[in-house]
Symmetry: C2
């Protein structure tokens, strides 16, 4: 059965899709409603985000399992000191005391995004906050890459894993957004759960080969990603065998051959996180389906320069045809 969600992220003649990574991390703090709104204002129709759950079971939008001192301030406005609290050990009320509206520029992570705006008083949002936004009429053509973060401490705990998937799926269904949601993870066991619990949503398999470095200052996903010993060329077959509809490799891992193999297998290929102009250009030249980026404007402009666009003509909101 073809999934309707896939038509929103597959390439087409003249079209390579753009996905706003955690909103638009190069411009505004990641995984904030402000960042998602910016990506939508910029005309993107695909958003990527990360979710996990608080101790009291609220699904929240945040990447790392612990509140991270490079990007979280306490209620008095000071960067976190001492042990970083684990999101799963805080209630949502406790979590809401923290401010995730800016980066500490003295950290390695902060230095990666020197143009990111610095806001104050921005709580980590709930998944439902974003779903509410996307239910608005003007956003009815927006689709989500909803990444479920797998806690490396609980990777063997199938009860915890299933509970998280069930909570996420329940919220998506309550908002009636399952026709616009793609379930996305580095943890392929979690994606098996997704396929069983939500067979109407496609699964998107993230991969990162061990030889490529992790991004500085972020939780690594390698611990939960079962690609040890694989080569780039093995990955599409592994994803297809696991029942995936999308393959989402780290951009440095993609080759012309592996991309061709993914296409043969009927997989949609979305690459992450592509920020430098040369890297974006390489992905355009390779002809991936979709590019996930922290800099939507930069990627839009590179596409336009080559007569390409991130949306099919009928989906561009102008009177007739757009340049």
């Amino acid at each position: 059965m073809p999934f309707p969600q896939l038509s929103a992220c597959a390439a087409a003649p003249g079209v390579i899709r753009l996905v706003g990574h955690r909103g638009a991390r190069g411009v505004l703090p990641e995984n904030t409603i402000e960042g998602f709104e910016f990506a939508l204002t910029s005309g993107l129709k695909l958003l990527e985000l990360d979710v996990t759950a608080t101790r009291d079971g609220v699904v929240v939008i945040t990447h790392n399992h612990r509140l991270t001192r490079s990007m979280v301030r306490d209620a008095t406005g000071h960067w976190l000191q001492g042990e970083e609290p684990k999101v799963s050990q805080l209630t949502y009320a406790e979590l809401s005391e923290f401010d995730a509206g800016g980066l500490d520029g003295t950290t390695a992570y902060g230095q990666r995004f020197p143009d990111q705006s610095f806001m104050t008083g921005v709580a980590i949002p709930r998944l439902t906050d974003l779903l509410d936004l996307l239910r608005q009429r003007e956003h009815q053509d927006v689709h989500l890459f909803l990444e479920i973060k797998s806690d490396p401490d609980l990777v063997q705990n199938s009860t915890a894993r299933t509970a998280l998937v069930e909570a996420v799926v329940a919220e998506v269904r309550a908002a009636h957004l399952e026709p616009r949601t793609i379930l996305h993870s580095f943890d392929w066991t979690m994606l098996e759960d997704c396929q069983r619990i939500a067979p109407d949503m496609p699964t998107s398999f993230l991969t990162q080969l061990p030889e490529n470095d992790d991004d500085i200052g972020e939780d690594s996903s390698k611990a939960v990603n079962p690609v040890e010993g694989c080569s780039a060329m093995d990955l599409p077959d592994r994803v297809a065998a696991a029942g995936g509809q999308l393959w989402c490799p780290y951009h440095l891992d993609v080759t012309e051959q592996s991309l061709a193999r993914a296409r043969e297998l009927g997989l949609t290929t979305m690459v992450w996180t592509v920020n430098e102009s040369d890297d974006i250009q390489r992905m355009i030249t390779l002809g991936v389906d979709a590019i996930c980026t922290d800099y939507p404007g930069r990627a839009q402009r590179l596409l336009l320069q080559q007569g390409l666009h991130w949306l099919p003509e009928a989906a561009r909101s102008c009177v007739t045809t757009c340049a």
Copy 2:
């Protein structure tokens, strides 16, 4: 009489103000409501914008006197061809047919802002659209540098000049925003009109010395700026003699001595348009009052790195003190 508007743009211990240039031109198309909203979301409290009037007397927010092919598409989505229409010769209804939501990356102007998002279906806004936004409760602490563009073809036409100032001032008064508005121009004759017509709003004198180049791809303001034969050191005295409260030099024209002289004269100094990190840093080191930039995030981050902020502590919207 001290103008209350000045306290919002004067430096204070630990504080150098940031002004969003045409919104945030490095990030979103200039002089659009989307760009102004982005600057406000980023926590800026000072916006700079340019106004002129249509044939039917509607005050609109746009920089150049002619719709410019590097940044304006027609109703069919194509970049302008042939003669560029003059804003003052179009009705507002005619002007609204054009799309100012993105830059043509093949032009020199477009290449200056390679990360700017590309939107579709964005009309040139009216001044009242922005004033309506700023009347909202959450924006009640935002102030405007309202630049009135002087048409070089009409520089000798005092009737036209006065009519434009009167129209602008009437709209500001109708929105009750005169306590938050600074009238800003390169045309000092126009600023005389402003002082006469609106003695309750401070006047801000833009300067650009002839030896520094114009910004590529923009209307030059040199034709209307009476600083021929001046040196940097002369400018503050000239502004004070003309009854100005603010001096707004091109950033490359400012020196330590001229800044000290401006301070002696009681002038507030706001520099434009400062985009490169090294240039922003030079302005911070000099200790100007305010920096106008296309990249608010970059400037915020540079200030924070040095323990500075763009707002006094009491104006930062967090529970107690902010980092």
